[in-house]
């Protein structure tokens, strides 16, 4: 960004997901699908072909019965701000046709479907597997296209798509604010579909830079961790877990490495 353009309206939207509360029920996944016009096939059991912008993973501690433990981990796009928070997330800088972009205003990584020509380099770049390719033409069983959301365009075959923190809701909230003579929106006015749907209130969303937003405090929770911090991708999705093995599962550690997942002291 050029000198002089810096302003206090810069936001960094992010998410804090409380894994202690998450029950793995999948409501977030479906809310996301409904909001974002995600197509479906007759067979969706191959998860590597299935488009789920938000996928709930099941983690286990690998111990035998009855010491086994499992934990669910919902994984939206991490909206990495990249090394040094410069916005060069792993996927953005690799896109040859500038179809994916990082906005310094919101910290959201966007995907422009009409610009994407489907080279899938971004998918190779993303270690979280948040990017999905449209292997098929999107076809709805007769009549079902009636529930499509007009705020999100339907993606054609052959392009990559991913979670965008329901950016359309940000736009809608902005429009409302303009009507009311405001230029900024309130925390509650912009919440992604998954956050809204979560029946356990496990997901919190807001501006990570704004001390008034709930996520600001939550990200400093001693239980907080992010996925693959060692790669310096700088994700904007934080997870909370009171279980050490879960926090440990957030990153790769080599043997005998001192694992720093102890709850931090306040």
């Amino acid at each position: 960004m050029k000198e002089g353009q810096h302003d206090q309206h810069i936001k960094k939207y992010g998410m804090v997901i409380d894994l202690d509360k998450c029950t793995g029920c999948g409501a977030c996944m479906v809310a996301c699908m409904q909001e974002n016009n995600i197509p479906f096939q007759k067979d969706e059991t191959d998860k590597m072909l299935s488009i789920t912008w938000l996928r709930v993973f099941k983690l286990d501690n690998g111990k035998p019965y009855p010491d086994t433990d499992i934990c669910y981990l919902p994984r939206p796009c991490m909206h990495c701000s990249g090394i040094g928070e410069h916005g060069h997330s792993p996927c953005v800088s690799v896109c040859p046709a500038t179809a994916t972009d990082y906005s310094m205003e919101t910290g959201i990584v966007s995907q422009i479907y009409t610009r994407c020509f489907g080279c899938r380099y971004c998918m190779a770049a993303c270690p979280y597997h948040v990017r999905h390719f449209n292997w098929w033409d999107p076809v709805w069983p007769s009549g079902m296209e009636r529930s499509l959301n007009p705020n999100v365009s339907v993606r054609m075959r052959g392009v990559v798509e991913k979670c965008n923190f329901c950016f359309q809701r940000y736009q809608i909230a902005k429009e409302k604010a303009f009507t009311e003579g405001r230029t900024e929106i309130e925390e509650h006015e912009y919440q992604p579909a998954c956050v809204e749907a979560c029946p356990a209130n496990a997901i919190t969303f807001g501006d990570l830079l704004n001390p008034k937003h709930k996520v600001y405090k939550l990200k400093q929770d001693p239980r907080a961790f992010r996925l693959l911090e060692k790669l310096h991708t700088n994700p904007k999705v934080y997870y909370l877990s009171s279980r050490e093995w879960v926090r440990e599962a957030g990153d790769n550690y080599i043997e005998n490495e001192k694992v720093d997942v102890e709850p931090k002291k306040h």
Partner: protein, 445 residues
Amino acid sequence: MDSELIPEGVQRCSLGKFLLWIGVVSVVLLWGVYGMILCWAKGLNQTNMNNAFGFALWIWADLAVIALGGGAFFTGFLRYIVGKKELKNIINYAVLIGFICYSSALLILAIDIGQPLRGWFIFWHANVHSMLTEVAFCLSCYFGVLTIEYLPLILENRQIDKIPFFHNLSHNMHEVMAVFAATGAFLSFFHQGSLGGVAGVLYGRPFGFREGVLIWPWTFFLFTWSAAACGPCFTILITKITEKVVGKKLVKDNVVELLAKISGWMLLTYITAKIIDTLYWAYVTAPKMGFTLDQFYTNNPGSAYGYWILIMEVIVGGVIPALILVTRKGRQTPLLLWIAVILACVGVSLNRWVMVLQVLAVPVLTFENWFTYFPSWQEIATTILPVAYGTILISLSYRYLPIFPQESELNPPPEELLSEAETVQKEAIEQDMASQDLTPAESAG
């Protein structure tokens, strides 16, 4: 029938046999074309790629043919820039192989992308920070250069050469070929490198990531270097195969030996750099990201990505051929030369395989498992398509173009065939030859 088109002073098999041969290869070609059309019409669901393997067989094939086609730019570089005169006897063939490799790569890319009709966005809306943009630009420019280098050869066809304009054109193009070759070498250096950078810059992929102090992927240089080292090996290999098929010597030993020697030293230095890179990666880069070398090579399904692949790539496909080629005895012993060039080609292909497939197969999230992938027949067919296409193009070029300047010298024709103007007589002889029971080697020639 087509004797008017065949270069002067060389012998070729009968048209019937030739057409039969082309016909057989065309069947394979059509199979590939069918797979290609399926992919275009029905979409990439025809492949076994998935969201974990966004890059798969095709991208490997691309990287591999480009590496193997590296013989063109490096031989060109040696011939026109360094000034190794002897190499003019193999440069034509190197160019042809390069042309085939690069056109195949572009074709595969056109199938591989999800929206082929929008493929040109990579140029129009270029993101200059992407390695792939660099690849696309240099690849297509260099393909242009290769076409320019191949064009004079076509113009030298006996009939085309008769047209004064084309005759002059080919002459003039030869005159400035050094400029083209230099540009080609420059482009090639960058796109071979940026292909290396494709995996090297992926800082979310610990297996491929290789950025160093210069904030530049080391794989950039390793790829350029390996292509320069192994490309000529592939040129030698294809030349040797062609010689075996047609049953004639086409290039003098000293030419091949020179190329082999340079290749050997390139390979030796490359593999040294590669070993240093591997060690640094194993002991410094990967552990920083929480990985050990062991994690990269063990516990994968069916050991498809086991340590064997590292040994095959570095020792068997790198050290051994390098050592054979740098020793005079090694490159002068036909069998050893054969082994060395084959191993070098296998080594570089394996390297590309690893840098495409294994990069993606290694689970990065701790709660994911190794990803597995096996190509669908459509992918295999479209990958074999370039082989068939290349075979046809080589056959046509060999038959009708003066590819090998030393051919007539190495294979002096029988006296009675020298009266080239007498076409009727020649046809008669050809028919005569066809009616005789020729050995396969003769008939192929």
